[in-house]
């Protein structure tokens, strides 16, 4: 089996397509394209395919990764990319493909950081004090888990956070936060910010993932 890493974008029109629906979408696209995709053995063969750090519903991204196994080596990756894009619905777009045999790239389980732009609507009056926010000892928010609501300190999960762009009634934040095995949803930082600074009237709209990083090796 020859494995390849696909770097792709998820744009506005398909941002509400869930992770599972996306996987089905790719599986069907690969059938449409008649690619020699490798399949798992067993009663119910599945295409060999893995997606790194599933993106939350409602978020866009300019750098998602998936690894796909093929039964035969794919010589022309530029052509494969074009053929793939021709069978994907608009909004999902393969940017580049790399051969995992030729390049040593980080395993998905070792991805630990994500960079995001976070889009927030606010009343145009009081800006949040990010320095003060980041200077706190801890940043505790209630988080829903299988066991119910519990308080979590997300401070250690935030590596960088600042206002990148300021418009009349909207703000764009930059956030470099935990992603992967330990994952922080970007909207939760805004929840926390509004909790600690009630004078800031912000509302999370959406976010865009810019990068996935592994402290072990390059991802792509």
């Amino acid at each position: 089996m020859s494995k390849y890493r696909f770097c792709y974008a998820k744009e506005d029109g398909v941002k509400y397509v869930s992770h599972l629906d996306f996987i089905r979408t790719v599986e069907r696209a690969m059938k449409r394209g008649h690619f020699p995709v490798a399949h798992s053995q067993g009663f119910n063969p599945h295409p060999s395919m893995a997606v790194a750090v599933p993106l939350s519903v409602g978020l866009t991204s300019k750098c998602e990764y998936m690894d796909i196994g093929f039964d035969e080596p794919m010589d022309n990756l530029e052509e494969l990319k074009e053929r793939f894009n021709a069978v994907l619905p608009e909004g999902f777009h393969i940017l580049e493909i790399k051969d995992l045999e030729k390049e040593e790239l980080a395993k998905f389980k070792f991805i630990d950081i994500g960079e995001y732009e976070i889009y927030v609507e606010y009343d145009g009056k009081t800006l949040p004090d990010i320095e003060k926010f980041m200077g706190q000892e801890e940043i505790v928010i209630p988080k829903r888990s299988k066991k119910g609501l519990s308080d979590v300190d997300i401070k250690p999960l935030i590596h960088e956070f600042y206002i990148k762009e300021q418009n009349d009634f909207s703000l764009i934040f930059f956030a470099k936060i935990a992603a992967g095995q330990v994952n922080l949803k970007p909207q939760l930082i805004i929840t926390a910010l509004c909790k600690y600074q009630p004078e800031f009237h912000g509302e999370f709209l959406s976010a865009r993932r810019l990068k996935l990083i592994s402290s072990e090796k390059v991802c792509f």
């Binding site: 509400y16 979408t25 696209a29 009663f43 409602g58 619905p89």
Partner: protein, 612 residues
């Protein structure tokens, strides 16, 4: 174009119901076409997207150069709330255009309980409900689909109906619209033009008078262009008609999330309760070669992993063995699993199903419809108890352990004895399983007995019949509940209040339009969804409009009564229905179309099984 903000989309369930952009959806520039058609399915996305007729007509209309067709479904109540709050009118999925900006707003009428959603959608689209209240700027509201044959309770709301199979007639209407659009003529002129097309019904061109007791006295055209009788359309040659090579592939899962390959239309059987068995006459089938080429194209264009054959009775396809042999060869090669609904169980079909369902053995469904032989003869269900038992035996020995049995209660001439015979038959199937040696059958038997309540439908031999009242249905359900206590047999039944209301709508006349409007205004919508169905509000609507629902479903009609649908001609004669009604009473079975022509009248279409 309407912009639906992230705030709204992220706050509703399943936002991809509203975002469009699915593979194979067609987005045409509004300025590049003459006619824009909003195809509305009056139910939620997952239901509407599962409907084959819509898929066919969507791609057909978009294949016309001057026409664009876009999809619209009923927004789920959570989305409706947001739309009202943010003043967002109903929009199409493709270009997010306001529905009121289209030339045509077409509703498909698949089941009566979706009628309130039509008003709901017009309301959300800010289009006046009544055709007489709409002006020259408003779109034409049209309907089609099986319930259009008698949609008199909607007659005040829509401008015209297309009766029968839509592939040809809808293109003729589009042609007429192209000629009319910039002609400066009125909408009424357009309706007069299309009223001359066979199959077009413009309700406002007919005056209906009533006797004092509410029965119809006369239905008379009031313009010269309107035909005294409107005859349904059929497609004579299914091998030549348009069938899409593409299907829209939704992102989320829908009810029927697979390729649907239509193998024939109509049914040779003539079960007397079944409207589909009459309105789609005569049976016409597609050639195996046509089907195989469609199947290949659809696999290639959709990437679906599953395909299902579609027809009213798969086993009645004449070259089924030959065809399925070639088809399974293809589906196996393409790694597509094949499902074969409505198959009669015999050695051939068991073998076939074992071949195609290698992995999972899903349940098998039998529809004896009645428990007793006497009642099966009344309804012309041409099977006997031995057939059911033999089929069950074959299925159990073939490895199936999950069998569903479908029945109906409330059929004409039914006695308690007939009702109890349902339990007897279910127990016989149970016994059949237990008589098979353990090493020759699968473990964990599950028999589901599903009982629905009979609804007399127009254009059937039972169109004159009285429907059981709600309490009577419930009494009969309770009779069965007491009998079916075995752990391996589960008993399911339909809500009888829904069936009663469906009985009223099915044989409606125009006077029910105001009840529908009142019920909608009281808050009725999504009536086919248990969690939204409000029989109390319907009751109030009937009372406030001074209309007794019993008049429609609790009355045995005389042979010479003029029906509200008397001016609609499906090609099967009233004389035939009357003789079938007599045959039902005398428990006489009528042979199927391939055994012997029963002279129903469908030969008038010059095609199909009548001329095989």
């Amino acid at each position: 174009m309407i912009n639906i903000s992230d705030k709204i989309l992220s706050a509703v369930e399943k936002p991809t119901r509203y975002t469009g952009g699915e593979m194979n959806s067609v987005k045409k520039d509004a300025n590049s076409v003459i006619t824009r058609f909003a195809f509305c399915f009056p139910d939620v996305y997952e239901i509407g997207m599962s409907h084959l007729g819509m898929k066919i007509l969507y791609h057909l209309l978009n294949s016309l150069e001057d026409v664009s067709c876009e999809r619209v479904f009923t927004p789920w109540p959570d989305m409706q709330e947001k739309m009202i709050e943010h003043h967002i009118p109903l929009f199409s999925l493709e270009t997010k255009e306001e529905v009121s900006k289209f030339d045509f707003v077409g509703f498909t009428l698949q089941y009566e309980m979706s009628y309130s959603n039509i008003l709901n959608m017009l309301d959300l689209a800010h289009i006046p409900f009544l055709s007489e209240e709409r002006g020259e700027e408003d779109p034409f509201i049209c309907v089609g689909g099986p319930c259009a044959y008698n949609s008199e309770m909607l007659a005040d709301f829509y401008d015209f109906a297309m009766l029968g199979e839509g592939e040809e007639i809808i293109c003729e209407v589009m042609e007429a619209h192209k000629a009319w659009k910039n002609s400066g003529k009125s909408k009424k002129e357009f309706l007069k033009t299309i009223a001359q097309i066979e199959g077009i019904y413009v309700p406002s061109f007919y005056d209906v008078t009533y006797f004092e007791d509410g029965r119809v006295k006369s239905i008379v055209p009031n313009v010269p262009e309107a035909k005294p009788k409107i005859k349904k359309r059929i497609i004579k040659d299914l091998d030549k008609v348009f069938y899409p090579d593409e299907l829209v592939v939704p992102f989320g899962t829908i009810v029927h999330d697979r390729i649907m390959l239509e193998i024939f239309r109509g049914c040779i059987r003539g079960c007397r309760f079944c409207q589909a068995g009459y309105i789609y006459r005569p049976v016409r089938q597609k050639n195996a070669d046509t089907l195989l080429s469609s199947a290949k194209n659809l696999i290639d264009s959709t990437g679906y992993e599953e395909m299902s054959l579609s027809s009213l009775s798969t086993s009645d396809y004449t070259h089924l063995e030959e065809f399925t042999e070639k088809l399974t060869e293809m589906t196996e090669r393409e790694k597509v699993s094949l499902s074969l609904p409505s198959l009669r169980i015999d050695n051939f079909s068991i073998g076939l199903m074992q071949q195609v369902q290698k992995i999972r053995k899903s349940g098998l469904t039998f529809a004896p419809e009645s428990g007793s032989q006497r009642l099966r003869d009344v309804i012309n269900k041409g099977i006997c108890e031995e057939d059911v038992v033999r089929s069950a035996d074959l299925a159990f020995r073939g490895g199936w352990n999950n069998i569903k049995l479908y029945f109906m209660i409330g059929l004409p001439t039914e006695t308690d004895e007939d009702v109890l015979a349902i339990a007897t038959l279910a127990r016989k199937v149970w016994k059949t399983y237990h008589e098979i040696p353990k090493d020759q059958r699968a473990k964990n038997l599950r028999i589901t007995v599903s009982v629905s309540s009979f609804v007399p439908k127009p254009f059937t031999p039972f169109q004159w019949e009285k429907q059981d009242k709600t309490e009577e249905f419930e009494r009969k359900q309770n009779l069965l509940k007491k009998e079916l206590t075995d752990k391996q047999i589960s008993f399911k039944w339909h809500d009888s209040k829904t069936s009663s209301l469906e009985g009223v709508f099915a044989r409606s006349d125009r006077r029910l339009g105001k009840v529908l409007l009142a019920a909608y205004q009281y808050g009725c919508k999504f009536d086919s969804w248990d969690e939204y169905f409000r029989p109390d509000l319907w009751q109030k609507a009937f009372a406030d409009c001074g209309i007794d629902p019993d008049f429609y479903n609790r009355r045995l009609r005389s042979d010479d009564e003029i029906f509200p649908w008397e001016h609609i001609d499906i090609g099967v004669s009233k004389k035939f229905f009357l003789s079938e009604k007599q045959n039902a009473y005398s428990e006489q079975v009528t042979p199927n179309c391939r055994e012997k022509c029963a002279g129903c009248g469908a030969t008038c279409f010059d095609g199909g099984v009548c001329y095989e």
